[in-house]
Assembly symmetry: C2
Homo-oligomer: 311 residues x 2
């Protein structure tokens, strides 16, 4: 029986799974920490793949979702957050040499988009924008049923469009990017700054906050927390209006922890989207949905990639 292996490599954990034929339920799953004394992350990745290798029948292809910027054409990880040694790592070649099967690699947010399009909330759409809003903001775009990669595979970094020139500093070192305003990190930071400036809140002053705490306080009626989610949602809507004018998709899929904040984030986002879109044509039949695959989106995207590269 033909099988496929999908792997999602994160900064803290590696997940590997084996799938038989077109079955979407894995025959075997392995989940291990990315880091362990005495073993490199690449060795651990190889061990995870080996542990799900099927006993019967050939593996058609391995699909790998990796964090950070990556050249999907060459299968080279340019750098990876929380995996310091992975700089210009020829991941595809190393795995092909080790396992002697076809290997395809992709950026994790890109592959989450591919996963949602192939198996999740974006099924049936030919043009789709996917955004994952958690500590950072990652993106993936489907154009004409194909993943948008660009000349060097660095496309769809949708968290890094400027929505506020001279705005807050982004994790990438530049100002006013969407990620610097609407990510979970940015939401928590804004609340802390406002509290430090004397605004009332049920949230504690002078302590590190998470966006999850902010969302919980907002649900309890905390006005500052509500304003923080509204601000993040509003700028997300402004950015999405620009992305609608740019891509004219039929679906927008939002994943990541912040998307769990519900209407406190989504209502201001939808309002800003309506206010900033050029003509209602862009909103006609537009589906706006939360991601369906949760934290399996990257793994399922790696599976889709394995299917496609074996064809």
């Amino acid at each position: 029986m033909r099988s496929y292996i999908a792997v999602d490599v994160g900064g803290t954990q590696i997940r590997a799974a084996c799938y038989l034929e077109d079955n979407l339920e894995p025959a075997c799953v392995q989940r291990i920490a990315t880091h362990s004394p005495g073993e490199s992350p690449l060795e651990r990745l190889m061990a995870a793949i080996q542990s799900v290798w099927p006993e019967n029948g050939p593996v058609q292809a391995i699909g790998v979702a990796a964090p950070g910027p990556l050249d999907p054409y060459q299968g080279v990880v340019l750098s990876a957050p929380n995996i310091p040694g992975w700089i210009n790592l020829p991941l595809q070649r190393r795995l092909e040499e080790r396992f002697n099967v076809k290997v395809a690699t992709g950026n994790d947010a890109n592959l989450a988009a591919l996963g949602e399009w192939r198996f999740g909330a974006g099924q049936g759409h030919h043009h789709l924008i996917y955004l994952t809003v958690s500590t950072g903001i990652g993106g993936g775009v489907i154009v004409d049923d194909r993943l948008l990669l660009g000349a060097r595979g660095l496309a769809a970094e949708l968290g890094h469009v400027t929505v506020m020139p001279d705005g807050p500093l982004c994790g990438c070192g530049h100002r006013g990017h969407l990620e610097a305003i609407s990510s979970g990190t940015a939401i928590a930071r804004w609340v802390q700054q406002e509290i430090a400036q004397g605004r009332n809140s049920s949230l504690p002053a002078g302590r590190a906050l998470t966006s999850k705490q902010v969302a919980e306080a907002a649900r309890q009626g905390d006005e500052l927390a509500i304003a923080a989610l509204a601000r993040a949602g509003t700028f997300m809507g402004i950015a999405l209006a620009g992305l609608l004018h740019t891509f004219n998709p039929s679906a927008i899929i939002i994943g990541g922890g912040v998307s769990q904040s519900g209407s406190l984030f989504f209502d201001p986002m939808r309002a800003a989207l309506r206010d900033n879109v050029m003509t209602p044509d862009y909103l006609k039949d537009l589906v706006i949905a939360t991601a369906a695959l949760g934290d399996s989106a990257g793994l399922m995207g790696a599976l889709a990639l394995a299917h496609m590269s074996a064809d």
Copy 2:
């Protein structure tokens, strides 16, 4: 001998040309006003096509570039600036019925991008962004050697990404779009406003200005005019950084009248691009060029479309 007809329909003039085989020099060209008493623009368009119809041999296809939003899948003009009657006009069907050959239509800025990619400054690039900066700002994008159209054909409206929330009012009725800051109209308006507020300039107060006059004054050393072009170029660079992160193209082609302003526009644009791009990877081997086809870009794009639709 096989031939193709290309047409560029503008608000003031219609151009039609006939091309033989793969020849890029037209065998015959017609240029007439779009509006004339007693005749509708559609009748005039049909007459222009008829006037370049070859005497010998079949026409393979007609490609038409039309202004304004257009559904290229159905060949329907949704609306057209300066052609009031063209609302939901089934242009493709009307022309196919009249001439009994295959007709393909496209938005003029999209087809200018296609023209530059196929025959002009973008040849050989698989991923390309085209912007035309004149009274407004239009755009076109090539992704994987294909024109980006989107679900309804409304993609690549790159003049309508927000670069300054609550910024100046755009022609589309929304605030802070790139077109409201970096277009020729916006450049001239900003200079007028600054003069009205008492800033010194060699340009006259209280009179309508054109961006061409501003560019000329800037070349003569007028500081306000220089600042106006620098402001427009800077925001163009900010928007382009976001578009690089979005599309990761290998070429950016800039056309339109404002692109004639030279380094007074392009130097600030390049500086802002460098300042706002996440990593130098996006700039590596990136070609930034002015358009090569001038005001023939739309016509040449219509020819490329005719070639493609006949294949």
